[in-house]
Symmetry: C2
Subunit: 607 residues, 2 copies
């Protein structure tokens, strides 16, 4: 079939279960897939710190350095904490799993809800930010941001539907390209300072920090914490790694923390020394690289790699969202379809769901990142806190080797992430974080409603004893064949009807008495053994007289089942179908909620 | 059912066939329904003449009077011609019918295509123009023009779905309100001139007409001809009238011509005498009534009635489009569904189609009339020409009483409308009329393709002889029941299967070998008489292994029919359905084009 071939062309041939092992990733690819989100924050985190400070006073930007150090310290704590989680949960210790097992189902669902929200936001925000970077380079595209964003999501979606390994291969290059170009930027920038080619604007030591309100410091800190979103991806994604999975994941986690920390600190320090203050419409990275390289070729390389990594940050969510959704679905908190592995060994429905949700966000917010960013990061730190607290309980319960050391790290992680969560929640509440605070309990309620439905169905289906022979006694049933005339399609349906039932009735809805007389005459001559029933239709409807007749038959025969057999045309071209009445469709819909009715179409294929 | 009750609340109870006679309209109501389009042009036709002239030179507006007289003469010719058509085609002599019978099918279809296009344009343009008038009065609404336009279309649509009589009652009032307010405007304006309260700007007689290019005159003339769109509505709508239909329609046609002609000439003359030159953003009617009444209450009455009649002009298309579409559908040139009378005795599908098409135009052109107006009127005059030419042939063939007089009128009509068609086509071609010129042959091609399909189907269905006894021999068939476990839903499906076939096979798609073993053990114990078939699924798909098995069975048994019986859950709330796999749906779609397969769902109702 055409559709099947097109699907294979785009998504590749199906992969069998045995192929699953080949879909596992070496460390360097896993790093690229799972940390593009975290690493991409190097592109904007410094700026997020500088903007609130510079709005207060130009001298206040001096505080950026201690704030960046505090965030780097936080990064170390979280990285170490998550390495403990990898040890304890080799099957993939997402916040949902850890919180559910140690703090109870509700805590797990709260963590899951906040992560799902954050994954959707990550896709929408990072795609929108990437498109903004592109539009800054090509102003002609500025009026098509929304459309370009949607196309980008579609492309990322298609690569992910093709499978994990293929998306990793495609997405590894831009990630390392970005890392390399930022390393070059920092290297050349430092070299110029050391050689005295560039005289630093600000002295490094003996800094005078001007007095500024604590709230402002906290805001700058919480904005900078956007650097830490996405670092949980590796501990969630252990199943993606090649064996030995745990060891590889731990090593990758360490590398990611080191790269992220040093790039972030390096950029912040250089911005400070070069006296960069981001302005409306130009990013800190852009200003810094212009300062160091001038508007030369390498400036454009940096801009391009930044735009690319922002677009790809979305990819980390594509690795995590479908897996988390499948875990929830297996536990009955989300529709079961989300737990089915597609024919390319990925959770296709989750990928489609994530794409749809983030596309809606792009359309609703018209591709504008400013409205989405405040919603961001609250959820991440809530899930960090729950996951770390869960780990504390885990250590207290299981007391595995070195448990005291691990307990200390996770306790430290829980306390610090909780503090950050409160800070972010407070400083960003009015700017949009309240949406997330409201949404999380709604989603948890929704999860429980779904679970309730599945439990309810399971009870109904299991409450009956084993089938007995009596359950399979053939039942007496009447077959009703609605007809519109006497043609091969009708005859085919009648033949099927007499094959499955002893009581077949042909029903003709009269719209024109003369036509009825003509048809009746032919019928009596050729098919006298099948009763020909004429139904009046004062309101010209075909469906209602049939429904009334079916009710009448049921009352008289007391049949357990009445089968309605509809002769249906199948046209050779699908669009020709619109030229024929859709009686079968309407009748099926009308009978859907009535018990004891089976609707069968006997199709007659037109050439 | 909830939906059915809601529908009755909005659209009213169904009307039986016997009610049809009560849905016929007295003359005064028919005039309102069928001429709101034509009469509404009084609101803008004068302006359409003045604008091209005034852009050339202020003195050139003096030409508006002779141009208006020419258009009025054309109006007289067309009115008389159409009265001949009413005589000749008492069943409703639309351009389609007249052209088809006298000039052949192709000419008829060209006329039909141009009329359909024009009806859709009329709805879009008149609604957009009405909304623009409203937005001029309430500038706060200006940014919501598109949305308001869509809502207006929905309202007009709902009244039309309720039925002809109800929409006539609602729409008669604003039509007469408009006529009355324009008559008052002309009366008071003339009175002030005669009493010398107002001194005319331009002398009435012995006018000096400045020399201007002929092309400009033609453009002003063709713009002014927009006054004539919609006047064919009465001769198309004869079936709507009360008996004696023909006599009533002819009288109404005459009245409509008189009212339209005198209002149009009156407004143009007054504009001339009061020296009105429409400016960007203010209409001629608005300027004239401000001049005569000042910005008093009556000025606002005129503005309100103008906005209302423009909105209602759409209603004439709602009377004509569905009827023309139903005629085409009866002849097999459009989908048959368009020929079905809905339960309120109107062609509901045509009404929905017209609404949808005009809504798309409103959205695509963002409610801007300027882009749509040049597309307008070309189609009307093409259909006028075809219809009048058809009448000429009709008279030559039939030679009924007074045929020579009628022939002269229709010949005059054909020639003049053809000239106007050429003038409009040439002067507006580059401004958008080319779209219509391209669209008409495309639509005619499309009509023929639809006809071809219906003819093709009819040949296939009629090519077979009468059914014989052998056609109803019961056929041997295998029933395949895909199962996912052993629960009451499956048992119900199995019971139905054994009732309709002697060869029932239960198929289980294996996703997990352990689960298969457990199920097989229970099966062998309780249902040994039904074969339990295990299908492997290396790619985790449920559908493909089933399709393969169905093919295998077909090859071995050579059955004419294989019935696939799917146990399906019906949840008590429709939205719960999304929580269950849609296997039935996918299987039905996959088997749709395969011959000899019947797919039946046996539904198990969950509480």
């Amino acid at each position: 079939m055409g559709f099947e071939r097109l699907k294979r062309l785009i998504l590749g041939d199906p992969l069998s279960n045995e192929m699953a092992v080949h879909e596992h990733l070496p460390k360097w690819k896993a790093l690229a897939v799972l940390s593009s989100d975290a690493l991409s924050s190097v592109a904007y985190a410094t700026e997020e710190i500088l903007i609130p400070l510079s709005l207060f006073a130009v001298t206040a930007v001096a505080w950026s350095l201690p704030i960046a150090l505090a965030i780097a310290a936080l990064l170390i704590i979280i990285t170490i904490s998550y390495r403990q989680t990898i040890d304890a949960y080799p099957g993939g210790g997402g916040a949902y799993t850890v919180a559910k097992e140690n703090l109870g189902v509700k805590a797990g669902l709260v963590a899951a809800a906040s992560l799902l929200i954050d994954y959707v936001l990550t896709v929408a925000v990072s795609i929108a930010a990437g498109v903004e970077n592109i539009a800054a380079a090509f102003p002609a595209l500025a009026s098509h941001k929304e459309g370009i964003g949607l196309i980008c999501i579609l492309i990322v979606m298609l690569f992910n539907l093709r499978g994990v390994k293929e998306s990793a291969s495609v997405f590894a290059i831009p990630t390392y390209f970005f890392v390399l170009s930022i390393v070059t930027l920092i290297g050349v920038g430092s070299f110029k300072l050391m050689m005295g080619i560039h005289i630093p604007v600000a002295p490094v030591v003996h800094e005078v920090y001007p007095a500024i309100p604590v709230f402002l410091l906290l805001r700058a800190f919480s904005s900078g914490c956007s650097a830490l979103t996405g670092i949980e991806a590796i501990s969630n994604g252990i199943p993606l790694f090649k064996d030995p999975k745990q060891k590889n994941a731990k090593a990758t986690m360490l590398w990611m923390g080191l790269i992220l920390g040093s790039l972030f600190l390096g950029i912040t320090l250089l911005c400070h020394l070069y006296g960069i203050i981001p302005s409306e419409g130009e990013t800190a990275i852009s200003l810094l690289s212009k300062e160091i390289f001038g508007k030369q070729a390498f400036y454009y390389v940096i801009q391009a790699s930044t735009a690319l990594i922002l677009l790809l940050a979305a990819n980390t969510s594509y690795a995590d969202f479908p897996r988390l959704a499948s875990l929830l679905a297996k536990d009955g908190f989300l529709p079961r379809q989300l737990a089915i592995l597609g024919d390319r060994l990925v959770f296709s429905n989750g990928i489609l769901g994530l794409s749809l949700a983030s596309m809606i966000l792009i359309v609703v917010f018209k591709g504008d990142t400013h409205l989405l960013i405040p919603l961001y990061a609250v959820g991440v730190f809530l899930s960090f806190t729950l996951s770390q607290t869960g780990m504390v309980i885990h250590h207290l319960r299981h007391r595995e080797s070195h448990w005291i050391k691990s307990l200390v790290f996770n306790f430290l992680g829980a306390v610090t992430t909780f503090i950050v969560f409160m800070v972010i929640g407070m400083t960003k509440f009015m700017h949009g974080a309240w949406v997330v605070v409201l949404l999380i309990p709604c989603m948890v309620f929704f999860f429980f409603q779904i679970k309730k439905h599945y439990l309810h169905v399971a009870t109904q289906l299991s409450g009956v004893s084993m089938p007995t022979q009596g359950d399979l006694e053939p039942l007496r049933h009447t077959a009703i064949v609605p007809i519109s005339g006497l043609h091969p399609g009708v005859i085919k349906a009648l033949r099927y009807a007499v094959s499955i039932s002893d009581d077949v009735r042909a029903c003709y809805v009269e719209l024109n008495p003369e036509a009825t007389q003509r048809l009746k005459a032919i019928w009596d001559q050729t098919l006298p053994q099948i009763p020909f029933i004429v139904l009046k239709s004062p309101y010209r409807s075909v469906i209602s007289p049939l429904l009334d007749y079916i009710d009448d038959v049921e009352k008289i025969t007391h049949d357990e089942v009445i089968t309605v057999i509809i002769p249906e045309f199948v046209t050779s071209k699908w669009y020709h179908q619109f030229l024929h009445n859709q009686t079968a469709l309407f009748l099926r819909a009308a009978l859907r909620f009535r018990r004891g009715k089976v609707v069968t179409s006997v199709r007659y294929h037109l050439q």
